[in-house]
């Protein structure tokens, strides 16, 4: 999926000049992008625009040259199941469900991964032993890793990660980025990571300063 961004600008706050707001650029399939900015400059807003949660902006976003403003709620639901996956900054896990239940809740929409695959992903991120623990009992860093695995349990062409490694140690960040890059390559998907500054040792196609 090619994403064509045409001079978007949020209408509910005034951001500083950047390489995103009011610019024309493309996010292309198979490429990786880093959106780098200080806190409060609108990273999450940019992700929310792309994920269809917020449309308070001027300008146009086109998915494969189709204006996202024209998408119906049903089309958005389909997109969120089949084409776009996200790790929210606030994670949005359900605290009353276990780590595995949280992941399966998403996975069952498309039955994209088997339980064995999910467990192996959790193992890779060193949270396999926590699969059956309630999300509310996990540390924030552990929850971030569960949320990353959840985001991988669906088909996607665009993966949005909003400060996904903020509470994870460097060893686990390497594990996580490797897992994510494997998945991105296998699917020829676009990866967009938002970060406050760290580039997580990934060789990005492009870095956008926000």
């Amino acid at each position: 999926m090619t994403i064509h961004i045409q001079e978007i600008y949020p209408t509910y706050f005034t951001p500083a000049s950047s390489e995103v707001w009011s610019k024309v650029f493309y996010l292309e399939a198979g490429k990786t992008y880093l959106v780098k900015a200080a806190s409060g400059s609108g990273k999450s807003s940019f992700f929310n625009f792309l994920y269809g949660l917020n449309n308070k902006f001027t300008g146009t976003i086109l998915f494969d040259e189709k204006d996202i403003a024209s998408f119906s709620e049903t089309e958005w639901t389909q997109l969120r199941r089949q084409k776009i996956s996200i790790v929210f900054q606030g994670l949005r896990l359900f605290p009353e469900l276990t780590a595995m239940e949280n992941i399966q809740l998403k996975n069952q929409l498309t039955n994209h991964k088997t339980e064995a695959e999910i467990r192996s992903y959790l193992e890779r991120l060193d949270v396999g032993h926590l699969a059956d623990k309630k999300a509310e009992t996990l540390s924030y860093g552990q929850q971030q890793r569960v949320a990353i695995v959840r985001a991988l349990c669906q088909p996607f062409e665009l993966l949005l990660l909003d400060e996904p490694f903020s509470h994870i140690d460097d060893v686990q960040i390497d594990n996580a980025t490797q897992l994510i890059l494997d998945e991105i390559t296998a699917r020829n998907a676009t990866l967009v990571i938002a970060s406050l500054g760290n580039s997580y040792n990934i060789d990005y196609s492009k870095t956008l300063l926000l």
Binding site: G42, T77, L109
Partner: protein
């Protein structure tokens, strides 16, 4: 799994409250509906006690106590009067003879009157007459039969007669007019509690008046009218002002009937009010269930669950509670039906279990209507909650 997740935030006490309010509202509605059906016969035209409110008026005794056309017109224009009809007299002498059980015939002078069919409380297809008819149907006051059964028959050693037997008594009417006399066969079709006179069909009276005494003018000496409210002071004022006479006791029973209708209407009104209130409570309850889960619902929707999938979880709960409430309401209705039976018997109302079929149909209709309403409402609420820009998620900049 979405079901378990959403159910975790719903408390049993909330569902119990939901079920109770729903059962109460539907129960009252169905019980009142049942009451309404069972009392219908009380207000039907075939019953005397609570039939339409009629008053019979006449002028004071004197030389000319017939009603003029203008007077009748004035009556018709009064707002408290629904229908007006005049009693027509036969303009000839009548001799009636009867032979009971083979005894020699009893003969008596009598009279005939007619009134518009609209006022007659006997619903019988035989109540008509044309010149080609073999017999003339007659309606007599019920008092006459009572007098015979309880006064005359025991003393004379004659058998008592009932409604069926009375029809079989052959009557011969000898009509002696100014220019002609005729003999007709007649029979008693029915008895009336409302109209205290000997009635024949209007067509018969008009025909014989014309045939036997064409020179005599037909006079209307009594008026029967159907009124809105027999206790209306305007009606009583009007009657007093024009010096029209009426039977106090007749007006009294009309008043009882009016009062009963009023009471039933109030019961129905309160029933509907309580039902509306309880449905409002149920809807508020659904809103609460959904609102409590607002965060979860938003997150589920933005994870890729459709609004329909989320709504279905709540709808499954609503439908089940609605079904349970309807069943409880139906049970209540059946219990009430049997509890009311002795009271209805006192009023002389024939109740049949068939009315439960109507109640059953009403219950199914209620279920369908409320289910559709709840469905629409739930979808609307979830749509509002998960709308773009209103989500809790967009608070992250």
């Amino acid at each position: 799994m979405i079901k378990e997740l959403l159910h975790k935030q719903i408390h049993f006490s909330q569902l119990l409250f939901f079920a109770l309010t729903s059962s109460l509202g539907l129960g009252i509605l169905l019980v009142v509906f049942q009451l309404f059906i069972d009392t219908q016969s009380l207000f039907g035209s075939s019953s005397d006690l609570l039939s339409n409110q009629t008053v019979i008026i006449s002028k004071q005794l004197g030389r000319d106590n017939a009603f003029t056309k203008e007077e009748i017109e004035t009556l018709k224009q009064q707002e408290f009067v629904k229908k007006v009809g005049g009693f027509t007299n036969g303009t000839y002498r009548v001799k009636g003879s009867v032979s009971i059980m083979g005894m020699s015939s009893i003969s008596t002078d009598m009279f005939l009157e007619a009134v518009s069919d609209r006022f007659i409380d006997v619903d019988d297809e035989n109540w008509n007459w044309s010149p080609s008819s073999r017999e003339v149907p007659i309606i007599i006051p019920k008092n006459y039969i009572d007098l015979y059964n309880y006064g005359f028959a025991p003393g004379a050693g004659l058998p008592q007669i009932d409604q069926n037997l009375i029809r079989k008594i052959p009557i011969e009417l000898n009509l002696i007019g100014t220019s002609k006399r005729e003999v007709y066969d007649a029979y008693i079709l029915a008895t009336s509690e409302k109209i205290n006179t000997i009635l024949v069909p209007e067509t018969f009276l008009n025909y014989t008046n014309q045939l036997l005494s064409p020179d005599k003018e037909v006079r209307i000496s009594r008026i029967i009218m159907e009124v809105v409210n027999p206790s209306d002071p305007k009606l009583l004022d009007f009657l007093a002002k024009n010096k029209y006479q009426y039977f106090q006791s007749e007006l009294l029973s009309s008043r009882i009937s009016y009062f009963l209708q009023l009471v039933l209407s109030i019961v129905l009104g309160i029933g509907i009010l309580i039902t509306i209130l309880s449905i409002t409570l149920v809807v508020t309850n659904i809103n609460l269930l959904i609102l409590k889960n607002k965060q979860t619902i938003c997150q589920l929707h933005f994870l890729g669950f459709s609004r329909k999938q989320i709504a279905n979880v709540y709808l499954a709960i609503s439908y089940r509670i609605l079904a349970v409430s309807i069943i409880i309401a139906l049970v209540l209705t059946v219990i009430c039906k049997f509890a009311f039976v002795p009271f209805f018997e006192n009023l002389g109302v024939q109740t049949s279990t068939f009315s439960l079929v109507y109640v059953g149909v009403a219950a199914i209709l209620l279920f369908v209507i409320l289910a559709i309403y709840y469905t629409k409402h739930t979808h609307k609420k979830i749509k509002q909650m998960t709308a773009v820009n209103t989500s809790l998620l967009t608070t992250e900049i």
